[in-house]
């Protein structure tokens, strides 16, 4: 599984959000090793649709959501919001577009600042937007640019390498100088002269200083400019601050109304709640407040990152119903990231299964849950508890072993290390998402038949036969497979 490709992307152009070949990698120290959190994931979202993203912990589903929000920005890949590539926007345009793309987090309490009032928390997006509408003085922009350039240089590998070498050489020269001086005899004036050794040491130190000089000079000049700008900035900001101060009372009244309306909409009584702080609310109420904060700029897309998994089951239903209602009344499209399969089935129009940073299977929830075609999806589905005492949970497709390390993911199909259908081919060639039947995409060389259903007993009964027949011939498992070459 662990497939790439974008065969499941719908070609019609009415997708609100379209993510192509999203890759997120986190470097580990300076060793050059990377955590491959998300590798080449594509997805799209039609207007009014809910896309469920499921997978076990560590499969990169949350990272995908955050990368779409650009916190942190993806390593590569395109995120198109209504046709505009978010990466191509400058910071102010990006800030504007954030209003159309919002996120709700897993831990409702942690996503609200404990020291701010509910009113301030919900108003924050409005305030940020409002403050942005006042142009900042040029000095502030320069200050920011100089800081960015300095940080960029400071993080540049070559600069760091150069400084390391220079320091090493300097130390070596110093050592040479000290040792040869100490080894020399005292002359008639009571002085020690290290002779050629000390001269060489001096020379080496000089070379080291010459190596470091441009970097040090640039850093000093940069820091000096930055400090001068930092001192000038408050002075040049005074007119803007005065303008903001004059406009604030009117704005605050407007904000109060909007916040009250947003809170009302999510079922939080505004009058009582606005002056309170987050700790005075339960988890479900706090999640409603998060939703109100996400809604207040009337976004087009909300990314829900496990919005209900930290909540009581009874409260989960309330929050899910609320999301459904809001989706209808606000024309929202949702990306619903969760590991609770039942929840995802209920809310989603389309489900994307992820494993170790890759997409396994994309389908509508009914088809996916009735007849999973990917071995990993089958294992996921069979992990859903069934309220039937005749079904023996020990016969479920339990996955053996642990999730492989995302630092060195398996070659080919990333699922092959835990897959009972894996063959040579799986380690050599990475499967690509391919269309099996109506809207059902699978990234697997040996997909399941699909007619054996998702129930525990029947799948368990027929799996032995599958292994035999599919080992030699991948295409024999499904008559409707549309084969796609790897890239």
């Amino acid at each position: 599984m662990a497939g790439s490709g974008g065969a499941h992307l719908r070609r019609d152009n009415d997708s609100v959000l379209r993510v192509e070949n999203l890759t997120v990698e986190f470097p580990i120290g300076t060793s050059g090793a990377k955590v491959h959190a998300v590798s080449d994931v594509s997805l799209d979202l039609l207007s009014g649709e809910t896309l469920g993203v499921v997978g076990e912990s560590g499969c990169g589903k949350s990272t995908t959501g955050k990368a779409i929000m650009r916190v942190p920005p993806p390593t590569s890949g395109r995120v198109m919001l209504e046709g505009t590539d978010l990466a191509s926007l400058d910071t102010s345009q990006l800030r504007e577009s954030r209003g159309r793309l919002q996120m709700i987090f897993q831990d409702p309490i942690s996503s609200l600042n404990p020291r701010r009032t509910i009113r301030d928390i919900v108003a924050e997006p409005l305030v940020i937007n409002w403050l942005d509408s006042f142009p900042r003085p040029a000095v502030s922009r320069w200050w920011e640019q100089v800081a960015n350039v300095l940080v960029k240089w400071g993080r540049d590998r070559r600069v760091i390498q150069l400084m390391k070498i220079a320091l090493g050489v300097l130390f070596f020269g110093f050592l040479l100088f000290v040792v040869s001086t100490a080894a020399a005899d005292v002359d008639e004036f009571g002085q020690r002269d290290g002779g050629a050794g000390a001269d060489l040491g001096r020379l080496v130190m000089l070379v080291a200083l010459a190596l470091a000089a441009p970097v040090v000079a640039a850093a000093v000049v940069g820091a000096a400019v930055w400090i001068v700008l930092a001192v000038l900035m408050p002075v040049f900001s005074i007119p803007r601050a005065l303008k903001i101060r004059r406009a604030r009372p009117a704005f605050e009244n407007e904000v109060d109304e909007k916040v009250a309306a947003a809170l009302e909409e999510v079922g939080i009584p505004p009058e009582v709640s606005m002056p309170k702080r987050p700790h005075e609310f339960s988890g479900g109420q706090a999640q409603r407040i998060s939703i109100a904060r996400a809604l207040i700029l009337s976004p087009d897309v909300i990314i829900c990152d496990e919005p209900v998994s930290a909540l009581d089951v009874s409260v989960q239903a309330q929050v899910l119903n609320l999301l459904e209602d809001l989706k209808a009344s606000h024309d929202l499209s949702l990306i619903f990231i969760a590991h609770d399969l039942a929840v995802v089935k209920n809310v989603s129009d389309r489900v994307q299964v992820m494993y170790l940073g890759k997409t396994c299977e994309v389908a509508n929830p009914d088809a996916l849950y009735r007849a999973p075609r990917h071995p990993y999806t089958r294992a996921l589905m069979s992990a859903i508890p069934v309220a039937d005492p005749r079904i023996d949970p020990r016969q479920a497709f339990n996955l053996e072993g642990e999730l492989p390390s995302p630092i060195a993911p398996p070659s080919g199909c990333r699922f092959r290390t835990r897959c009972d259908r894996a063959t040579e081919e799986c380690s050599e060639r990475e499967p690509v998402l391919q269309l099996l039947d109506d809207g059902h995409y699978v990234a697997c060389h040996h997909p399941l038949d699909g007619d054996d259903g998702g129930t525990l007993v029947s799948v368990a009964g027929s799996s032995a036969g599958h292994n035999g027949s599919s080992a030699g011939n991948g295409s024999g498992t499904g008559p409707q497979i549309v084969l796609e070459e790897d890239r």
Binding site: K66, L94, Q102, D107, I109, L112, H279, Q285, S290, A317
Partner: protein, 317 residues
């Protein structure tokens, strides 16, 4: 699609329960208690001395000869007189200005510098953190006394016997030396405060609400000031209060060693002047020490209480 099956739970949310009765007087009184107010009262008295001792009616000048030297405490001279026949009581009250003033201003400087460094290195991490942290480590490695000696010795040559003024306040004969001693103490207190701020910032900037602010498009400066700082500040302040207590002692130690303005009226200086008569006339050391002891104790007690009262609940569940 997506109707949540069998969970037609009506979305009703009860109004949040009434908060614990913070405003209830009995509740607050029980929480703060007698010693809180005793400590606060002592500090209030010390602040009064600091600001207004030079205008207290009937209070002797610190260098005014009120009687023969080394008279014991009694009805005539409340705390007795010192080696030069100055009133120990008056000097204790006047000494608050230098002792507390230097400590408080130095701590404030330490909070501003250390807090900025700590917030920046904790928030931005990576190279910025490495650079700033190593600078802080270098500062930690400098012996405090040597730094104070160097700064005061270099920038503030000795001299001056008449009290100089700053605004309305008489400070000390050599205000310059006092200012540089304060700057040295501020630099000395910076690294430890910066470490506290950095550690707290590391914790708080990992929270989801910081991420949420970033997804809303808030600038880093706004996130640091609005989201991180309010959560870091309590820890920093309560640490700084202990720092004030420590700096009063350090200022006394500096005066004791003759760094800064030796002729200034401060508790540490008086302890120094009286110490060679400790066996026969202990009152010259005892009363300034008592003032220092009570002040440090009150500050420590209040800072503990401050932590206790400001421990915000993070979650109600």
């Amino acid at each position: 699609m997506s109707v949540v099956n069998a969970t037609e739970v009506t979305v009703t949310v009860a109004a949040p329960a009434a908060p614990p009765a913070d405003s209830d007087d009995g509740y607050v009184a029980r929480k703060r208690g007698f010693w809180f107010w005793a400590a606060a009262a002592w500090l209030g008295f010390i602040v009064l001395c600091m600001l207004f001792s030079q205008w207290f009616p009937g209070l002797a000048e610190p260098r005014e000869r009120v009687g023969s030297p080394r008279i014991g405490p009694g009805a005539d001279y409340l705390f007795g007189t010192n080696n030069s026949g100055h009133s120990v009581f008056a000097r204790c009250l006047h000494g608050a200005r230098i002792s507390i003033g230097v400590a408080v201003i130095a701590t404030f400087g330490g909070i501003v510098m250390g807090g900025t460094v700590g917030l920046i290195s904790g928030y931005y991490r990576r190279g910025i953190d490495t650079t700033l942290s190593s600078l802080v480590n270098v500062m930690l490695a400098i012996p405090g006394l040597v730094l104070a000696l160097a700064l005061v010795g270099f920038f503030a040559p000795t001299g001056g016997f008449d009290d100089q003024r700053f605004l309305f306040f008489t400070v000390s004969p050599n205000t310059n030396a006092t200012i540089w001693a304060t700057i040295a103490l501020a630099i000395l207190s910076t690294p430890s405060i910066s470490r506290v701020a950095r550690a707290q910032t590391l914790v708080w900037s990992d929270r989801d609400f910081v991420l949420a602010s970033r997804t809303l498009g808030a600038r880093n400066l706004r996130i640091i000031i609005r989201d991180v700082l309010p959560n870091v500040l309590p820890a920093m302040l309560s640490f700084a209060l202990i720092g004030v207590a420590a700096l009063i002692v350090v200022q006394a130690a500096l005066a004791f060693f003759g760094i800064g303005d030796v002729t200034a009226t401060s508790w540490g200086g008086d302890i120094n002047f009286g110490r060679d008569r400790l066996d026969s006339e202990p009152h010259m050391v005892f009363f300034p020490s008592l003032f220092m002891f009570l002040t440090v104790l009150s500050l420590n007690y209040l800072s503990d209480k401050f932590i206790e009262l400001n421990a915000v609940k993070e979650a109600g569940v």
